[in-house]
Symmetry: C2
Subunit: 230 residues, 2 copies
């Protein structure tokens, strides 16, 4: 498939590299490719300058947001939650219409340190805001509940563990399930939380996730959902 | 131990019966014992009139909130979150000072149906509000992440699964861990989320819990937290 990954940070790079490795035609979208390529310092997460990563991944092309969107059948939102709506606006509603938007972003606010609070929660969610802003896009919230390395390689966590998806469009969910399957998620691990309001569940779970990550000293963790026997 | 369970609904009854069965000296606290005993209709959760339950549990005594608090070494808040602070105020700060308060309540708002929203979330939590309102109480948030039948009998969920606790007082946490142990929670299943701000993590997780409960058609479910191998 033709896939545009929005965001040049760690999450975007990990997703783009894995999707390209699976044989997809992958572009990364950014606001200003020249500026992204010109950076010589690590970003605020400590990731290497993008150009270094790009040199090692010639199968992935860097494009401006609108060009990346025009290329894609599936758009993966791997931007920071605080800038996701801006980034998607830069891609353009026309380039998102009818397309599957796999929304990985969390609306995190680290201004008070770890664990982060959310900029939207409880009665709304970033997933819903994206769907509301782009009513013709087919938004699926998924994979947000795990660290990016685990998103694309669930075998990093031992045993059975769960991943969630939520969205209004069943066909779009099937497309995302296909990508999860390629990443290595077993069908029985994928739990469908229903329509896009299910995004609240996974976004609000992030508080527990980050609290546990602090406790374990690692973001590499997940949960397995177990129904009772009664 | 001398334990006061606040709340005469299903959660309070299940906790009180189990604690009494374990040999604890258990009272249930309510605003007006005469009125509670006089009810002849099921409550809004469908639970039998309290007097019927009371007749089958002669080892548990019903007392007014202040008397229940005065009796107790450990106070279990099993009231609805919306009335928890009122109920604890009725118990009285003097009756809570120095005592372990095991807070089971979730600040749920069902006014828009299932899944419920929270009346407090993200930058605060009910557990923190209780600790803030009663600074001399030793509040521990725990067990909220599972249905009451599972709280007291974790074997209802197959395999390994996790339970959380959060609170500022390590000795109070040890007391609660002792109760969890008596309920059947293995030590390795009990995850300490740190101070009382950890209450946000379990309270916000409730959105995922109730979404999953709708999906499975049952509240009998739990999650197992699995650290990665990296």
């Amino acid at each position: 498939m033709k896939i545009a990954v929005l965001g040049t940070g760690k999450v975007g790079r990990v997703l783009a590299a894995r999707l390209a490795g699976l044989g997809h035609d992958v572009v990364i979208g950014t606001r200003d490719p020249g500026r992204t390529m010109g950076r010589t310092e690590p970003d605020d997460t400590g990731a290497l300058p993008y150009a270094q990563w790009q040199a090692e991944h010639p199968d992935v092309r860097l494009l401006a947001f609108p060009d990346a969107g025009a290329h894609a059948e599936v758009v993966v939102n791997a931007t920071r939650g605080a800038v996701s709506l801006d980034a998607l606006n830069a891609v353009g509603a026309d380039n998102l219409g009818g397309k599957v938007v796999l929304d990985l972003a969390l609306p995190l606010d680290f201004s008070d340190g770890m664990p982060p609070t959310l900029t939207v929660a409880n009665t709304d969610s970033l997933g819903e805001q994206v769907q509301c802003a782009f009513p013709n896009a087919r938004v699926v919230k998924s994979l947000t509940s795990v660290f990016c390395e685990v998103m694309v390689d669930p075998g990093r966590i031992p045993g059975e563990h769960s991943i969630f998806l939520a969205g209004n469009d069943d066909v779009a969910k099937k497309t995302v399930q296909g990508i999860l399957d390629q990443f290595g998620w077993p069908a029985e691990s994928i739990l469908d939380l229903g329509d896009i309001t299910g995004a609240r569940a996974v976004e609000m779970y992030s508080r527990l996730f980050f609290t546990l990550a602090e406790m374990f000293g690692s973001f590499e963790l997940n949960i397995n959902v177990i129904p009772g026997s009664h």
